[in-house]
Amino acid sequence: MSNVRKEFTSLDRLDMPVRWSEVLQRTPGRMPSPPPRDRGLVAIVAFGLAAASVLLVVQALGPRPRPPVSTRPEGQIAFVRRGDVYVMKPDGTDVHKLAEGPATYPTWSPDGRLLAFAAGEERTQIYVVASEGAAPRRLTNVATPGAYFPMWSQDGSRIGFYAPLQGRPSQLGVMKIDGGQISRIPLPFQSAAFATNPVLSPDFREIVFSMCRGRSCAPQIYVRATDGGPLSQLTEGAPATAPAWSPSGERIAFIRSNAIVVMNADGTDQNVVRRCAPEHCLSVNWTPDGTELSVTQTLANPDACTLPPTTEIFELCFHLESNVYLMEADGSKAVHVGSGLWASVQPLP
């Protein structure tokens, strides 16, 4: 019986004809890009396949989830590396694995004690794990392809998530983290609708999220009561993403046209409070007293995250350097308060 590894040694006699000078003279992109995974995944989702693919679809075509950059008070940053969940200090030291993957979108609880993430191969579910390390606890048991984009309520008692179900309208889910009680909020569009960043209002009565419909995705901000009722579209026009409730529940901040916009919770009185250029807006959050906004920006274009190959999406995104600014709710008195990495980390007050 021949040894396969030994057979491969026959290749080592071959000389590569490609020269470095050819690489230097080459314009990247001459070769056709890798398979159009984004379109392929849209089809996959449309036909209800492959749970893990959903995240990439939404990353590529849907309202881009805006994983903010921040650190826990103790300084830990959570991120995904090659599918597993890691934490590290802001200076990049003390990197250690907190949970096995394949996982996506780790988000810290507001008090920094728990990390929620979506994980699983056949069916992706929401898990939480203690910041000091322990066996992750599964919170959801959602039908294929599973649950995505866990977002904490401001008091840390509940988590909102997105469930793109096979053959049925997608749903937003809300659950208590002490186990059980999941509210399901069906979305009205049966196919090609992707929702991200589902964030509960402070009184838990409403959930705000970014959603796009169809292939020509221009995500907008929607809100819906957690006990059902009509869906309200709060924005229109240019794509709007990354909504964040103010602690009072009276206002919502979001990103549109590379600017931070603040509006009333009913969608009225929309005002641009900050333009991120020449950097790019990544996320916006409110401070606990609701008087200030925390805005994360990066010099690199986050759209670079869709550069081929798309399998690199997380690795590329993670290494985008970013800057965090704090400012008054009207955008004034902005100060640079730190730098970080674009990891899938929930900011803390």
Binding site: F8, V18, W20, P35, P309, T311, E315
Partner: protein, 157 residues
């Protein structure tokens, strides 16, 4: 890890490039595909060097993804299959021809899994990322691919 410089990418071209190229040749069976994928992957790495965390892994993935895309495009255009065009290397009738001929008879995923695992020594998780499958499936592909490859190579002797 410090971000790689252009010099680092060039060093990787000299240290890893030939192995990537040979793996792609074994996978695609076509020197043109291997040449183009290697050149393109390194050109992209140069363009995006400041964003690469693990440039070697990135290059392996990018080169294979590009080669797979090219093979897929060609199959859509003319459906030629994977052709072992050994003559282009000037080394006709070498033993590697048997290897490539055997490899072309196993499924593309098995072929890629065996090459990346047994020749390139890439970790299973990385192979899973390249092929878009789970690590468990990678192990199955490696096991089944090895078995088929051994049987095929026995038949050539």
């Amino acid at each position: 890890m410090a971000k790689p410089s252009s010099a680092d990418i060039e060093e990787l071209f000299r240290s890893e490039g030939p192995k990537i190229w040979r793996a792609l040749l074994a996978y695609a069976g076509d020197p043109d595909v291997a040449n183009d994928a290697v050149a393109e992957a390194f050109a992209q790495a140069l363009a995006h060097a400041s964003r690469l965390h693990s440039p070697a892994a990135w290059l392996w993935r990018t080169a294979f993804v590009l080669a797979r895309a090219e093979l897929k495009r060609r199959s859509q255009v003319s459906n030629p299959g994977v052709g072992a065009r050994g003559d282009d290397t000037g080394e006709a009738n070498e033993s590697w021809h048997d290897l490539v001929a055997a490899l072309r008879q196993i499924s593309p995923n098995q072929r890629a899994a065996v090459i990346l695992h047994d020749y390139a020594d890439r970790p299973s998780r990385e192979i899973a990322s390249i092929l878009g499958i789970s690590t468990a499936t990678v192990r199955v592909h490696v096991s089944q691919g090895r078995r088929r490859l051994r049987n095929l190579l026995e038949g050539y002797r």
